[in-house]
């Protein structure tokens, strides 16, 4: 059977979710093609433009994932999500609720509230969150389609700064765990996939690259390699020293 990412009953073969908000519109098509991406995020607030809309630049057949950036409360996120649906952006929504303009860290509490409301309204809800196991469980109960923990502050390109906590989510949560925010290099995306993340989302790392399309392609390869390694079952990697070749317990007789 093909290795598929399932989100709200929809199947995807690509595990690379591409951001669109930080580079020129005429580069979006090339980035999507090189990334092999089947899902692209866009800020509803940006799509809400009458002239040269970002929507006109997204290739057909790619699933739109509008986000609620700009929302500071669950109520605002819900209103933005409904607006996105009314604008023809489909049923997928990525919840982003920030009450901090400096680090743009997600507000987990408000995110749970918005997830509950939007899941009830039939949205495929993909919540961006700070990796906290209790919150992740609440998001599952609220009807989320996946959980999207941040690797590092958005746009920081610092990689998997929250590695240990994401690992806990991967171990404990049955929904897909999609690492969102902070991934700065293909090697970091690869590591997330090796750890067992279901997908990786990246934007700034590609937008700030010298060659956007080429970097999108590099991420694609890294994510595929990490996934393949995960499926293959990683060989034993020891954190400290080597394993002794003469075991200490070899003297036991029975």
């Amino acid at each position: 059977m093909a290795d598929q990412l399932m989100l709200g009953g929809h199947a995807f073969t690509s595990r690379f979710i591409l951001g669109s908000g930080k580079y020129s519109l005429d580069l979006i098509r090339a980035a999507v093609e090189h990334a092999g991406a089947q899902i692209i995020t866009l800020a509803l607030r940006r799509a809400n433009s009458d002239t040269d809309s970002i929507l006109d630049h997204i290739p057909e057949g790619v699933t739109l994932l509008p986000n609620t950036s700009g929302a500071r409360t669950a109520d605002e996120a819900v209103r933005i999500a409904r607006l996105a649906r009314a604008c023809g952006c489909g049923d997928f929504v990525k919840i982003e609720i920030m009450r901090d303009s400096k680090y743009l860290l997600p507000d987990n509490y408000e995110t749970i509230k918005a997830t509950e409301i939007l899941a009830r309204e039939g949205f495929v809800v993909m919540p961006y969150m700070y990796p906290d196991l209790n919150v992740a469980r609440d998001l599952v109960d609220a009807g989320a389609a996946c959980v999207m923990p941040l690797g590092a502050p958005i746009g920081s390109n610092k990689g998997l700064a929250t590695r240990d906590f994401i690992r806990i989510l991967i171990d404990e949560i049955d929904l897909p765990i999609i690492v969102d925010a902070g991934i700065g290099r293909p090697s970091q995306a690869c590591e997330a996939m090796e750890m067992g993340a279901a997908a990786v989302m990246a934007n700034t790392a590609i937008a700030t690259a010298g060659d956007i399309a080429a970097m999108a392609g590099a991420f694609k390869s890294a994510i595929e390699a990490g996934r393949a390694a995960r499926l293959a079952g990683l060989g034993r990697v020891l954190d400290h020293g080597a394993a002794p070749s003469s075991p200490l317990t070899g003297f036991l007789a029975d």
């Binding site: 020129s24 433009s49 040269d52 933005i80 901090d100 400096k102």
Partner: protein
């Protein structure tokens, strides 16, 4: 009498009021932030920094007020190229290729203040005008036809000629034509900001002009604007009234520009810490010639110094918005949108009624970049940057 500014003849004002005393109708809020900003400005010795301090500031990843102080100092001037390179990287990290466009609309130029450097001041003999609501609608429709989706509504500072209800009606009309509405009008109380927020406004810009209250007193001789603390607390009252974002500026050239830029940054920094959700933006205006006085100029703030200030703001608060004014020439504006600024005005008229027909009222200041929206859009594209008309949804 003393001449507070070269080339400006001052009309004598009798019975000048205490510029530090609130008038009865003015709301008084917790003064902590204001006092901290003034103390920081007073304590800023721009000569105390060395090349070593500047290098440390450039190498830091999270920059502190001390780093900011070093970046604004004369010691940082030889590092301008490095500052620009770093600022550009920070700008791209937060804003990517995006450059936002807007235009100001002046709906009234009646003013009760006597700010001796300003073209709208009540003693300057200019053509005064106030658009009625139909006129506002015509102007806005004309602006919307250029493709712009963000507007900044400005008035001269006269509560009598442009009261809060009038501004509110203008904002409601603006919401029909634009996705994002900001105001740059006289400072008001938090309940009045709340009212304007309900009318569709989400961004409030107030220029403090100078953060040196003694200098402020010499330049603002009459009117509500003379009250220094009330103006300085405007951004906080706007946030208390529910506005999404606030913009800060010192008018560079009125006083020691490094100290004023430092105070502007600290003001924004402190309010962002107190109101973490607030969106923060800087404007970077320099003095310009006005009608009846072409000798007003920004003195020691040349383009190099202006760029240093802009880069220092960007490096200190990399997530903040920054607007570049039409006070600057096209060649300067086109470069700084790649380095530090995030927003540029286009198709600008600073007079009354200039967008749909002839101007009825004179301009606030001379602009140096009169390009149309299409021309600015082309200039942005020519640099490989992305013009963005709107990145905003009012909820």
């Amino acid at each position: 009498m003393d001449q507070p500014m070269d080339g400006v003849t001052v009309v004598e004002v009798k019975n000048k009021t205490d510029h530090m005393a609130y008038l009865p109708e003015m709301e008084q809020i917790d003064p902590t932030v204001r006092l901290q900003v003034v103390a920081a400005r007073d304590g800023y010795d721009e000569t105390a920094y060395t090349a070593r301090d500047v290098r440390a500031a450039l190498e830091a990843t999270e920059r502190t007020p001390e780093h900011f102080a070093a970046l604004l100092s004369p010691a940082a001037q030889p590092f301008l190229e490095e500052m620009a390179q770093k600022a550009r990287m920070d700008k791209r990290r937060y804003f990517g290729d995006n450059v936002y466009l807007f235009t100001p609309i002046y709906i009234s130029n009646y003013c009760e203040n006597y700010c001796i450097y300003c073209g709208f001041n009540c003693h300057n003999k200019i053509r005064r005008a106030r658009l009625d609501l139909a006129g506002i609608e015509r102007e806005m429709a004309a602006i919307a036809r250029t493709g712009l989706e963000e507007i900044l509504i400005l008035t001269g500072e006269s509560r009598k000629m442009s009261d809060v209800e009038y501004i509110g009606e203008a904002c409601k009309i603006a919401r029909k034509y634009f996705k994002m509405v900001g105001i740059e009008v006289y400072p008001m109380n938090s309940d009045e900001y709340a009212y304007l927020h309900r009318c569709g406004v989400d961004y409030v810009t107030v220029f403090q002009e100078t953060y040196n209250d003694a200098r402020y007193e010499q330049l603002h001789l009459a009117g509500h604007k003379r009250v220094f603390p009330y103006r300085m607390e405007a951004q906080e009252r706007a946030l208390m009234g529910g506005m999404r974002g606030v913009a800060f500026a010192a008018l560079l050239g009125l006083d020691d520009f490094r100290k004023d830029a430092f105070a502007t940054g600290i003001h924004a920094w402190l309010l962002q810490r107190k109101y973490p959700h607030a969106e923060i933006s800087f404007s970077c205006p320099r003095l310009r010639p006005i009608v009846n006085n072409d000798r007003i100029n920004p003195k020691d703030v040349h383009e190099r110094q202006l760029l240093q200030v802009m880069c220092a703001y960007r490096l200190f608060m990399p997530f903040a918005g920054m607007t570049i004014s039409t006070r600057e020439r096209a060649g300067f504006r086109d470069r700084v949108i790649d380095i530090a600024a995030t927003k540029i005005s286009a198709g600008v008229s600073t007079g009354i009624g200039g967008h749909d027909g002839d101007e009825e009222g004179d301009d606030q200041f001379e602009i140096a970049d009169g390009r149309t929206v299409d021309q600015v859009v082309s200039a942005i594209r020519d640099q490989g940057l992305q013009p963005v008309m709107n990145d905003y949804v009012y909820v």
